[in-house]
Symmetry: C2
Subunit: 517 residues, 2 copies
Amino acid sequence: MGITRRDFLMRVGQAGGYSAAFATMQSLGLMPMKATAAEPIAAAERAGKGIKLVVMGGGVAGLTTAYEAKKLGYDVTLLEARHRPGGRAWSARNGDVVEFVDGTKQPITWSEGLYQNMGPARLPSVHGTMLGYCRELKVPLEVEVNTSRSTLLQNDKVNGGKAICQRKAINDTRGQLSELLSKAIAGGALDQELTSEDRQRMTDVLKVYGPLDKGGKYVGSDRADIKRYPGAGPQTMIVDDHPLTLPELLDANFWSAELYEEAWDWQATMFQPINGMQQISIAFAKALGPVVVYDAPVTEIAKTAKGVRVTYGSGKTIEADYAVCAMPLTILKKIKADLDPAHRGAVDRGGASYRGSCKVPWESRRFWETDYNIYGGLSFLAQGPSPIWYPSASMFSERGIIVSGYMDEAMGGFDQMTIEQKFEASRASIEKLHPGHGKELEKPIFCGWKHIKWNEGSWIGQTPQADYDILTQPDGPIFFAGDHTSHVVGWQEGAALSGRRAVQMICDRVKDTSARA
Amino acid sequence: MGITRRDFLMRVGQAGGYSAAFATMQSLGLMPMKATAAEPIAAAERAGKGIKLVVMGGGVAGLTTAYEAKKLGYDVTLLEARHRPGGRAWSARNGDVVEFVDGTKQPITWSEGLYQNMGPARLPSVHGTMLGYCRELKVPLEVEVNTSRSTLLQNDKVNGGKAICQRKAINDTRGQLSELLSKAIAGGALDQELTSEDRQRMTDVLKVYGPLDKGGKYVGSDRADIKRYPGAGPQTMIVDDHPLTLPELLDANFWSAELYEEAWDWQATMFQPINGMQQISIAFAKALGPVVVYDAPVTEIAKTAKGVRVTYGSGKTIEADYAVCAMPLTILKKIKADLDPAHRGAVDRGGASYRGSCKVPWESRRFWETDYNIYGGLSFLAQGPSPIWYPSASMFSERGIIVSGYMDEAMGGFDQMTIEQKFEASRASIEKLHPGHGKELEKPIFCGWKHIKWNEGSWIGQTPQADYDILTQPDGPIFFAGDHTSHVVGWQEGAALSGRRAVQMICDRVKDTSARA
């Protein structure tokens, strides 16, 4: 036991993050957060006029950097290794190919209209920077259903391995804990903690909160499990009166899965762009127009007397006053780059730490909707590939993409399996939750970011605080951006904020340089 | 204290329901519910051939009755008093008029594209009958966000009357209760209840569940309240470490509002038809074509030797073998109808019991989205019109319809106010939650169903069980449908199930009659 939030986040694939320097800002106290849109970049209008900037990497960090710099009048070029923008923010669909560094190619042949966000797939409403860009770039959003009470939890060790509904686990947990607390209060255990009046209030409240019966017992609840729904005429509701017992709940160990909806950046309401997360990157690229140069992998970064010279593609070069490295450190560390020893070390160690988050999407008939009333959300298994991620896109249509396994491939020996074995393990997870439906799955893809060309990792792992402090400062004319230079690792929000910060730092430098000139 | 679920449901306007006869069906045990689509109607193909049926009332019950009967070959006529289908399932918009029985008229002048579902506004995913009809009639749905952690709770008695975020109330509650339970276990209060091993497991689990610190104390959580979000560079997250205390939570009395998302028919995932709930009724009406006769209020229902004769409009009559009364009992009780004394009594008492649920929608700039990160969901106030219902339709657009007050007008003296006073009370609720924004509200409407022509009530109130038993059986050739003949009062699901049940009963009668003939 003793799952910390970090452990849980790692389990579901959202690991990373630094503990870092401390700074203060407004305290919001008990009041709700106001809009979290990024602060405007503090720079004069056209502050970048006549200044050449080269941005390396066309993921969200690089796109944001270029977009904000262009707004300020910088002469920007963005070099992107691929023939598409977005980096990990990739919405893969029919005709696309998952290409590994070892040459493995998985062509996608899903039905027309279906897609999977292979990288980021959620926009929390507290990620105001990204929501702000969606507004600004007019990217239409729809609700991403992150939690649904109809999703499932499964552990081979309990209930004979049969899945249990989220609504039952969550509400039976609350009920059993409330009964325990009610008993403790009745037994006088909390007489020192609570006034007599508060003990009475708590006892009453627990009857609602549990809910508990008049005797303070939890006997099940329509919140948790209904044997028969109410209907017309004589058909009354029948509530299941066999709640999970506390020992069963302890054995099941579903706690972190019961609580994921409370993680601050996983709380409702969440969004996704209609037709895929990549729509945001596509909108950035469209706004940037010819600024973006595709099929332009960087091969060398050199400092010059007046700034930087970047070599890319088949030996082309570009000279600029400043550069922003917005590519993953896994890629940057392999490029010949004129970095000072401190930055070189931080890049190398960071690049070596990257995680191997992966997703295993399948095409299928939407049996989870028609046969299980599951519309979006996640189901968790204690053993094997997990979680199962049900699509929020095109609900009620015939077919959809379901992810069976979204985790770090280093977990549970997944990285030791062949791709075919991975698919069978992934199918087995579905079969455990949805018996008889494993066979409906087809056209699987293993999108293991550790192996993906131009990424070679999902996001940065644990690295020394000192390295973070180095990478978040420029090396001469070379600045760094990417979710790895933020405390919002693995999220587009971190990438976008890091890009904005890079532009702010460059503007400050430019101002400083002009003042001195 | 001691809020029962019924009390809470009444508070938010979902009162009603009978306790009724008991019947058994399959037990689903711990497994998730399978699809809850209605059972097919058991009748031979074209079972209704040559049989004339008149349906009175074009709300969801009447439309479902006519639709299913038509499928079975019945010769159906549906008489609807209004010039539109849907009854309470009304999506009001620019050009519509809210018309009271006392002659009061409120013309709606909202901006183009905006609407408010004045009656039902949510489709829970467990309401398989309605979802099934949406599939069958190809009514496009979108997610209805019923709960969002960004919504607010407010009580004049706590926090100086300032609103508190749902995420804080919910997570501080869990934290404080976990701390109490952890202390009780540590003090030995539950030694009789739990084995030593389970006490240890519980202690560990509560650290995750609360979450609690190593000492078993709840000191706040990023689930509850964040003073500063994490960002790029040095910007780390700062968690607020001043959770609400237990006495504060007890004073605040937010329990039912913290738990509404767990009500079995309010749990995520929920839906709404794109462009208004009425789209379902419109689709039914379209499928029925000339079966539906509008502007045809019924004035008399008479039994005849071969069935029924219904008089409607300006004295037109229609003869039929069977009739289904699918109008509200408030309306039926005023019509001259050839009912036996038992049915007459049940209709009269039922009609007199109707509730007066109302909504007060306003047009406004979407300040709740831009300034509060609130996208859908409900905010609750302890005093004054409540809840506030934020729209799930057209999020991220400029303007929207916000409901400030969805409750029974009998509560809190709302029915004693003039319409202008109601509007000021409604505006004051918004001002309490969103200071400074009350003035952004415009074009209010008071949709009090008690006063609406052709409804005169929102749904049936408490009536004797015996009356329910009478009304759910026919009076000779006259059958009854409507959510009031179901245990799903106030929901379209109940109306649809009741309509299907009426058709089933008629088919059974027809079969029985033919067998005897």
